[in-house]
């Protein structure tokens, strides 16, 4: 059937070659998840991060920033978020971003008043090749954010190579043109000595992947020194003993002191 094969060829030409599809990937840094994803997820594409519950918003923002930092490779970031989110979960904190491994001097924050503004700001950022990655944070399910809008963002991002990470809060996953879609919840961290909260930990679930990978869940910890993820130990009961120092300093108090 020559007609059918010609059609297939035409379609594959339209959908771009699989080589391009694989093209430029960025991994998570943890072999388990990179292996499952075949190396990582695409740079220069739109990825979606859903907060599993409203209370997981901070975790979703954090995970989104992790992805953006890994995709951006030291280039500047643009972070567009609706202005009223500052009341919901607090304003972005530069010292906190620095403590997370990012460089606040390289982040441009845009605070439009509505979701349409966020999409427009992200569209502008996606057309600027000097940007490494752009984060866009949208609350709820605004009408302006439809399949067409996400498709447009995806195309702009593909053209310029700017990775887009869309953080959706208080929204149920819905169809979009995103390359991958993740659901993120906060996870209990591996406690440090004296029961101190450990590195940021996330329970993430791959909901959808463009190349048809099956849904999978991972538990990851973020290492801000190497800007990479590590698989978190699933067991909660045993606290990890630091390798480079004694588990408990001699004569140490009951509580780990900070500052």
């Amino acid at each position: 059937m020559p007609d059918l094969s010609a059609l297939r060829r035409a379609i594959s030409a339209l959908e771009r070659s699989s080589a391009c599809e694989r093209g430029d990937l960025f991994g998570f840094g943890a072999p388990e998840i990179d292996g499952a994803l075949g190396g990582g997820i695409r740079r220069g594409a739109l990825h979606e991060v859903y907060a599993r519950k409203e209370t997981d918003s901070a975790a979703a923002s954090g995970f989104g920033l992790c992805l953006a930092l890994r995709a951006a490779r030291d280039r500047p970031l643009v972070w567009a978020r609706q202005d009223f989110l500052d009341l919901e979960t607090g304003a972005l904190h530069g010292a906190g971003i620095a403590a997370f491994g990012g460089d606040p001097a390289k982040i441009l924050v845009v605070r439009p008043g509505d979701a349409a503004g966020v999409l427009r700001a992200a569209g502008e950022a996606a057309r600027c090749p000097a940007i490494g990655a752009a984060l866009l944070e949208v609350w709820g399910a605004p009408k302006t954010l439809d399949l067409k809008a996400s498709r447009r963002l995806g195309l702009a991002s593909e053209k310029s190579g700017v990775t887009l990470v869309m953080i959706r809060r208080a929204a149920a996953p819905e169809p979009s043109a995103a390359q991958s879609r993740w659901s993120v919840a906060a996870a209990v961290s591996t406690a440090l000595q004296d029961n101190a909260p450990g590195r940021p930990a996330f329970d993430i679930e791959l909901l959808r992947h463009r190349s048809g990978l099956p849904p999978r869940a991972f538990r990851l910890e973020w290492d801000r020194d190497s800007l990479s993820f590590a698989a978190a130990p699933l067991s909660r009961s045993v606290a990890a003993v630091p390798a480079d120092r004694p588990a408990r300093p001699a004569g140490g108090g009951l509580r780990r002191r900070a500052g």
Binding site: H93, A95, L108, C128, V188, S189, P197, D225, R256, A258
Partner: protein, 443 residues
């Protein structure tokens, strides 16, 4: 008179109307000054030929104001004071060069705009007209009626000439396009702006400068003027970039550009300029990236307003709220701010998101100086499983005295959410019942 409508005098409204007239008068000359309560002074030096000579210019001014339903008197003279006096009290339309003295002589002394007391004093002395004063030697006049009168007289007679102080200083570069047939369509407006931008760019290039602020003025046929400005983060004379900014700005206007019956003048002014040499990108492309980023900031600022496009500016302080602030992007220097180095292997000690002001919470404290076991925030109860602290941050007494000391704790609840809490006030030293607050959320 039953049909007479009486209204209270509203000086503020009058002043606003006069300001609008001054904007509209910008079409004749860039040098416009207010002469309150109801006058405008236009310096038309070198402008008259654009309107068919001085008579043509005056006719145009009269015609436009009368079309708007206002009664107006206008006079052209060599000095501003002579023109002001003649417009109010004289019958001369245009004073020939050097003819000011002769023209103002018949005017009453009220044309000098003196105080009532001085006018009465002059009347008592039998001096009724400016001509009477002009004949007296200035020294005795000043001795009797004050130096002020003498200098006013000299100015009205055209012996002294002072410049007017224009409302808006003339821009460094100004180009304009006039339309015999007023334009109203967006394409026509954009193409006019495009032409003006390339003319302005050529002028800027000749002098080796670039604009930091571009201001488009749209003059409607009915006299209304709309000015729209865009700013750039670095000096620019890139026609396409400037046009793109204008397009963003026009697109984002809360009240759109209303052409009414059309614009008959479109003007582009560049009030702020900076030196800008010829540049070429370096081989590493670093400079290009910087420029692209700066253009992106300009476009975003044109669209959303400068107060919504922000960068972090670091301050050397322990106060978490002041340590990193978001400020309009162009105002923040790109200099790397010194940040405390964090120990490798440590988790982040500062939250990603910070509440300002901090949110009050209800707590069940473990001990007077320990982290809470449970706390309630936004009606949800959180059970603390991991905690670290305290990190004590004292208030900056040199800014605001008597701020309680804060003991910060990093806590994690049983669902893995990490919070930054603090207790305000040292127990028993600063307060008997310390209050707890949630200051930030960790990822």
């Amino acid at each position: 008179m039953p049909g007479l409508i009486a209204r209270d005098h509203e000086p503020d409204e009058d002043a606003a109307l006069l300001a609008r007239f001054a904007e509209a008068a910008d079409r004749w000359t860039p040098l416009v000054a207010l002469d309150p309560p109801h006058g405008l002074v236009l310096d038309v030096t070198g402008c008259a030929h654009l309107f068919g000579g001085e008579a043509g210019l005056r006719d145009d001014v009269l015609k436009r104001f009368r079309t708007g339903g206002f009664s107006i008197r206008a006079c052209l003279a060599g000095t501003p004071d002579a023109a002001k006096a003649l417009a109010r009290f004289g019958r001369v339309a245009i004073v020939p060069t050097g003819g000011e003295a002769a023209a103002v002589r018949p005017l009453p002394i009220a044309a000098l705009r003196l105080e009532e007391v001085e006018r009465a004093a002059l009347s008592l002395a039998g001096l009724k007209r400016i001509g009477d004063l002009a004949d007296i030697a200035s020294a005795p006049l000043a001795a009797r009626f004050g130096e002020e009168l003498s200098s006013r007289l000299r100015r009205v007679l055209g012996r002294d000439d002072i410049r007017i102080t224009p409302l808006r200083p003339p821009p460094a570069v100004r180009v304009e396009k006039r339309f015999a047939e007023p334009i109203a369509h967006q394409e026509a407006i954009e193409s006019a702006l495009g032409e003006l931008a390339s003319r302005a760019a050529a002028l800027l290039e000749e002098t080796g400068r670039g604009g930091r602020r571009f201001e488009a003025g749209f003059f409607r046929t009915d006299g209304a003027v709309r000015r729209i400005a865009v700013e750039t983060g670095r000096p620019s004379r890139d026609v396409r970039a400037v046009l793109r900014l204008f397009r963003e700005r026009l697109d984002a206007l809360a009240d759109p550009l209303d052409p009414g019956f059309g614009f008959d003048i479109v003007r582009l002014a560049v009030p702020t300029v900076e030196p800008l040499g010829q540049t070429q990108p370096g081989l590493d492309g670093k400079a290009v990236e910087e420029d692209e980023l700066s253009d992106l900031v300009d476009r975003l600022a044109a669209r959303f307003g400068a107060e919504r496009v922000l960068r972090f500016s670091a301050a050397d302080t322990h106060d978490p709220a002041r340590a990193s602030r978001l400020a309009p992007a162009p105002a923040v220097s790109r200099r790397e701010a010194a940040r405390p180095e964090q120990e490798a292997g440590e988790p982040p000690l500062r939250p990603l998101q910070l509440f300002e002001p901090p949110q009050p919470i209800e707590t069940l404290a473990e001990a007077p100086d320990g982290p809470p076991l449970r706390f309630r925030w936004r009606r949800a109860l959180h059970r603390v499983v991991h905690a670290e602290g305290p990190e004590r941050i004292a208030g900056e007494w040199w800014r605001a005295p008597n701020q309680p000391t804060r003991d910060y704790y990093r806590v994690e609840d049983d669902e893995g959410r990490r919070f930054w809490l603090y207790r305000a006030g040292l127990y028993e030293r600063e307060t008997a019942r310390p209050r707890w607050y949630l200051h930030g959320l960790f990822a």
